[in-house]
Symmetry: C2
Subunit: 253 residues, 2 copies
Amino acid sequence: MIGQQAASIERRSGVSLWRQIADQILHAIAIGDFAENAALPPEMVLAERYGVNRHTVRSAIAALVQDGVLRAEQGRGTFVLSRKRLSYPIGARTRFSTGLQGQTSERHIVLLASSVEPASRRVAEGLDLARGSTVLRLETRGEADGHPVSRATAWFDAQRFAGIDAAMAETGSVTASLKRFGINDYLRQSTVLSARHADAADLVDLDLQPGAIVLVTIAVNVTLDGQPIQFSESRFPAERVELRLSANDQAMP
Amino acid sequence: MIGQQAASIERRSGVSLWRQIADQILHAIAIGDFAENAALPPEMVLAERYGVNRHTVRSAIAALVQDGVLRAEQGRGTFVLSRKRLSYPIGARTRFSTGLQGQTSERHIVLLASSVEPASRRVAEGLDLARGSTVLRLETRGEADGHPVSRATAWFDAQRFAGIDAAMAETGSVTASLKRFGINDYLRQSTVLSARHADAADLVDLDLQPGAIVLVTIAVNVTLDGQPIQFSESRFPAERVELRLSANDQAMP
DNA sequence: TATGGTTGTCTATATCAATATACAAATTAG
DNA sequence: CTAATTTGTATATTGATATAGACAACCATA
């Protein structure tokens, strides 16, 4: 939208102009309008294109420089440091570590916190438990090459999966942890996708700039015979991650 | 996040506090924290919960009232008008009109514009055409019960599908239009999901409030023998639509 | 009817966002 | 070296955003 198409922003929207422009530059980089190390148009040109003051463009660029997306050099120009979006596959066999194979060199899950609590309506329905049953909640962060790429909350039946928090902390893997409870394979039953602004917790955990957007998936994993075992809500930074539905996982029933 | 969990917003983020609060209230309604016609907590309570002034909460509520999500009544309270999110299935057999069956009573696609243009790199790759081949671009809007629920740009091989724009305008359906070209069935080969702020064009076409978020899907449809026929980018208003991957469409290969 | 709780309106002030203008500092091209 | 281009810095002004406090209008109900 920054290359050929009409660049367009909206005033008095509750979202500042500099953030809208930063979003659009990020989007333009993501869809390939600018190659790695390519120079952005000069600030004056961008200002004219968006119909704003040069300082407003500078605020947008400053945010992206701060975020490690751009590099500005006095007298020369502003250049793309190309943080390509990770393409994250979603489907029946969605797993964290297998999903990003080949795109990054190092990846793992960090357990941030765990707690026992009564199941809310959503969680109870998802796990097919009685309302108020105790469930185990795990807060985790997925990382790839040192960058946080996901932030998830997962719920398990506390009775059946007592101690899975320790297993997660030890193995850093859901798949490995479930094996300890006799579950050698599982499938994703359903996934619901939405998007919203990152809240304060997401900002910290995903290392985002305030105002960023997160993709949200709400999913239920089941055993091979259809028994629900895990209910989870995951947040992905939209500026660093895209979700991909592969042809195979979209096969007919 | 407005019911039990800690409500959290971020200052000097480029996104105003009233918009962040409006987003969170909308999210809370979407995930079922408030039933239809339920009363929101009083403005003073919300203000304390978010740690802001009551007037800031009022700005957020005013935006949602303007948007038709809430109804405020002096002396009584503020109530949810419950615009439930449409749950839009994504999978191998994604179609517009079949997708929303049962959730809405009336739905159709409106052709906004069409043009012939040389294929960009993305489009050429998606349709497996030579770079620079002429393609037909269709701009469409999907509507359900009078509300816009999607905004899509679709590209077809101009040579093979000459006149599909007229067919779309006449039938209001991609499936019906493709039948005229001898294609009685097709599958979705791939879908990539991302999210961003709505741009000015989206605001107009999807009847959104400035600052809204759109879910973006980029997809390729193919014939049953794998020949690509349609490349498309669709935008969905995140506040009115969620995307659902059903168990069947997530079956193993 | 009297009281407490709720939304609606008003005024004032402080801070952030955006504009306007000017000039300095660094780089590149001639 | 000079000129043109580009990013960096500074100052001043305007409008939107957010806070603070006070009070009016309306509703439910004890």
